[in-house]
Symmetry: C2
Subunit: 251 residues, 2 copies
DNA sequence: ATGCCTTTGTGAACGCGTGCACAAAGATGG
DNA sequence: CCATCTTTGTGCACGCGTTCACAAAGGCAT
C-alpha cells in the first residue's frame, strides 16, 4: 500500500513473489515452534497445516528459495529456519524507532516478537513532555525533536508511526529525510513518500469494517432478504444474487 | 490441527470482489474527510489520489456498488458516504468484545475510529484479577469468566483477541461457541475455526519482517550484489521497486 | 437546441497467484 | 542391487484483480 502514487508494477522482488514473501514469516513462526520442540524434519503437509496454508502453495513458495527439501523425507527444520531467516534479512540487526508512545506504541515496545527476530528498538519517541524521560518497556522515551539525530546515529532504516493521523505525514517526512526507507504506519492516513521508500500500513478500523461487511452478509442471507429484490435499474444485472441498491439519485 | 482449511473459493461476496471490499473503508475515510470540509462532489481522480489508489481501480470498485456517479461531474460526497457505509454494514450497530486488556487491548478500547463507525465496545475482558473491576477507556474490565454471558446478552458477533498466543485458540473457541462469527486476531497464532466463521489477523511482527525483506533487498542492490545474481534460475527480474500485499488475510 | 468538454462506466487484455496432478528423486527394506 | 513407497518440485490451467483505453453520458455555454 505504499501510497506515493507510483503505479506500482506489482513488482516481484528478486524473483520472489510478494505473496510468497508475505507468507515466509508465517512459515518461520511455525518452524520456530517445531524447532523449540526439537522436531528434526517436517513434511510440507504438516508444516502447511501448522501455518494454515495449502501444502502445494507452501512447496511452491519454498521452490522460489531453492530446493531445500529431501524427497521422501521432508524439510530439515533447523536448516529451513536459517534459510528463511536469511532470506527475510533477519540474520542481521534492524534498529527501529517507534514514534508515538501511546498505548499502541507501548504495546509494540513491549512486544516480544520483535527482539526474538532481528529487530531492536533503538528509541521511543514522543512529543509529549510528560512522557519524555519516563521509561516504557525498560527504555527511556526521547523527545521527537531528537528524531533526526537518533535515526542518523543509530543507522535506523525502519520507522514505526503510532501517533494520531494528524501528525503522521509530517513525522513520516522527517523520518524519510533522516534516512528511514521503510515505514510501518498505524495512523489512519495515506502517507505519501518518495520513490524507494516502502510503506506498510495497519489500520485497525479497516479490519473491523471488513469483518462487518461479511457479518452483514451472513445475517442477510440467513434472515432478512427474500433472496431476490424488486427494483434494480442500474448496470446490467450481473449473475450474482445481488439486487438491492436504491434508485435514488444524487443531488 | 485442521486449521480453517476450507479452500476458500476466494469468495466473491454478494458479487463484490474481496479486494474491492478491502478498499471500501479506504474510500470511506477519504470521503468522510471531504464531507467534513463540506466538499459537495469529487472526481474519481481526486478521490483516488486521496485514498492512495489508481483512479481506474476506484471507478471499477464503485461500479460493483452501482452507478453512483454523474459523468462530467463526479461523485456526490454525502451520497457516496452513505452508500459505502450501508454496503459495509456500518449503518447498524456492531457490539464488539475485546478479550485481553494489555497495552494493545487498551489501545483499541481508546481508539476513536471505532465509535465513529458503527462499532461499540460492549465489553473489555481480561483474565487478570488485578485488572477486572478497573476502568479502561471509561469502561469497566470484566473477567473472562463472563465471556459467554456477555456475548449472549449483548448479541455480540464480532470479537477481538488481544492476548498472548498461548491462550488465543481457547478464547477463540469460547467466543465461537458463544455465538461470535467474526474474529479479529492480534495473537501470533493460526486460529482454527468452524466453517462460517471469519477470521482476520493482524500480526505486527510479520509486517516488520516483510519490511526487513525489502530493506535488505534495497541495501543489497546499492552496496553488495553486482546487480545481477549469479544463480537466478527464477522468473525474470522485473523493473520497479517494492510491491505490496497485505499481511492481513482471511483465514 | 447544438456542440464541446469533462468524467464516468466498462469491455478487453494481461499478469499474478493458486491449486491440481504427476513425474522425478531419494529413502528404505529385502 | 532392485523394488517399493513417500514426498518433493513443478508444468499447466484457471480465475481473480489490475490497468488500459474508449464510448457513452451528462453538464454547460452559446
Amino acid at each position: 500500500m505504499a501510497t506515493g502514487r507510483t503505479h506500482r508494477p506489482a513488482t516481484r522482488s528478486r524473483g520472489i513473489p510478494e505473496a510468497t514473501v508475505a507468507r515466509l514469516p508465517l512459515y518461520l513462526r511455525a518452524l520456530t515452534a517445531l524447532s523449540e520442540r526439537s522436531v528434526p524434519t517436517v513434511s510440507s503437509e504438516e508444516l502447511a497445516t501448522a501455518a494454515g496454508v495449502n501444502s502445494a502453495k507452501l512447496r511452491k513458495d519454498f521452490s522460489y528459495l531453492g530446493s531445500y527439501g529431501t524427497r521422501g523425507v521432508g524439510y530439515d527444520v533447523e536448516y529451513l529456519v536459517y534459510q528463511i531467516s536469511r532470506e527475510l534479512g533477519l540474520t542481521q540487526d534492524w534498529p527501529v524507532v517507534i514514534v508515538g508512545v501511546g498505548n499502541l506504541g507501548a504495546a509494540l515496545a513491549n512486544y516480544g516478537g520483535f527482539a526474538s527476530r532481528g529487530f531492536r528498538v533503538a528509541a521511543l519517541l514522543d512529543q509529549d513532555p510528560a512522557l519524555t524521560g519516563r521509561t516504557v518497556a525498560g527504555m527511556p522515551v526521547s523527545h521527537t525533536d531528537d528524531l533526526e539525530r537518533i535515526v542518523t546515529e543509530n543507522g535506523v532504516s525502519i520507522g514505526v508511526i503510532t501517533i494520531p493521523a494528524g501528525g503522521a505525514q509530517q513525522v513520516c517526512d522527517r523520518l524519510v529525510a533522516a534516512g528511514v526507507t521503510s515505514i510501518l504506519n498505524f495512523a489512519p492516513t495515506v502517507l505519501s513518500v518518495p520513490e524507494g521508500v516502502d510503506v506498510r500500513k495497519v489500520d485497525l478500523s479497516i479490519e473491523l469494517q471488513i469483518l462487518a461487511f461479511h457479518e452483514q452478509r451472513k445475517a442477510g442471507e440467513d434472515a432478512t432478504a427474500p433472496a431476490d429484490l424488486p427494483a434494480g435499474p442500474h448496470t446490467t444485472p450481473r449473475k450474482g444474487p445481488d439486487g438491492d441498491v436504491p434508485a435514488v439519485m444524487p443531488a
